[in-house]
């Protein structure tokens, strides 16, 4: 599900089936890293929309957790922690996905499902190659979700 008028309504109707949240963490910068963050944003959007398409009935894709690159770590960590708290009280599984490496140590230490992906430069790619690359990456990611769900069943 996506967080839209129609699908959020469906979400509340079928809440017991949608037990997984997917949160993209998206940095923005206006300095020399700016273009990189633009690319990363598109990349993560494509990846997450593809995952959502495969698992529409079980995953809620949240609007991205967006922050400025220059913001202090403490502030970002605090805000994200409160997001995750809220999500965990509503979902059995919470997956976090980002191209921003700086989250890795914190999130993995606190036992979150964190997927870090290096962003592929999309600027000069034709749509067809873009789709192939994204689909290839998503295929590998799908297993992470299936495995997590299966573990939860067998426990």
């Amino acid at each position: 599900m996506r967080w839209t008028a129609k699908e959020s309504a469906l979400f509340f109707e079928s809440k017991e089936y949608i037990d997984t949240a997917l949160v993209p963490l998206t940095p923005i910068a206006f300095d020399e890293q700016g273009r990189e963050t633009g690319n990363a944003n598109e990349f993560i959007q494509l990846i997450t929309m593809n995952i959502e398409k495969q698992f529409k009935g079980r995953i809620l894709l949240l609007p991205a957790f967006t922050y400025f690159h220059s913001e202090s770590d403490d502030w970002k960590n605090q805000l994200l922690a409160s997001w995750l708290n809220e999500l965990k009280s509503n979902f059995k599984h919470v997956f976090i996905i980002s191209t921003d490496q700086s989250w890795k140590p914190i999130l993995e230490k606190s036992g979150n499902e964190f997927i870090w992906l290096p962003a592929v430069p999309l600027e000069h790619l034709e749509d067809e190659y873009k789709t192939t690359i994204i689909e290839g990456q998503v295929k590998q990611l799908l297993n992470l979700f299936v495995m997590k769900w299966q573990n939860a069943v067998s426990q």
Partner: protein, 170 residues
């Protein structure tokens, strides 16, 4: 000049009223006629079929996944839509093109998606299952069979409709 037949006032009014009345009558009757003949004027389903790039000779008894793309005008926003289908030939040699969208909550189902359930479509989200012909397996979450695409073979290539159509419940 004077022997040319002159239009009397009475005639003039009659003609004018007949003319205006005629337009008004046409105004009400024409839409009705248009509605009545509309089905006959509809574009044939063939107009909306999309070439898939799969040749008829490549279609086997084993369902295979076909992706096909087309442009869609969505309000003011034009986007490219990718649809997928599971295509195979049944025992009578008829082509079946099933939508991979699970009828439960819309996940994507896969043929032989789970080793424990061979020769079935399997939904990884809530373990819904479908037989080869798309019929939902009782006792799993889906409430109806998988939708089917209309198809056509043109020049040996498979064409599919943009949208799959639902079938009656099992």
């Amino acid at each position: 000049m004077s022997d040319k037949q002159r239009v009397t006032r009475r005639q003039f009014l009659t003609y004018t009223l007949m003319g205006v009345g005629g337009f008004m009558a046409a105004g009400t009757v024409m839409p009705m006629l248009r509605f009545a003949v509309d089905p006959a004027l509809q574009a044939k389903a063939g107009g909306d079929l999309i070439a898939t790039g799969l040749k008829e000779s490549e279609i086997t008894n084993e369902p295979q996944r076909v992706d096909f793309k087309f442009d869609q005008q969505d309000g003011w926003y034009e986007s490219q839509v990718t649809q997928s289908a599971w295509v195979y030939k049944d025992n009578n040699g008829d082509i079946i093109a099933l939508s991979p969208i699970c009828k439960h909550l819309g996940c994507t189902v896969n043929w032989n998606g789970n080793e424990e359930f061979p020769n079935q479509f399997y939904c990884p989200c809530h373990f819904g299952r479908y037989e080869k012909d798309g019929t939902n397996v009782k006792g799993t979450p889906p409430r109806g069979p998988l939708d089917r695409y209309d198809y056509e073979i043109k020049d040996g290539v498979l064409y599919l409709s943009m949208r799959a159509k639902p079938r009656g419940g099992a």
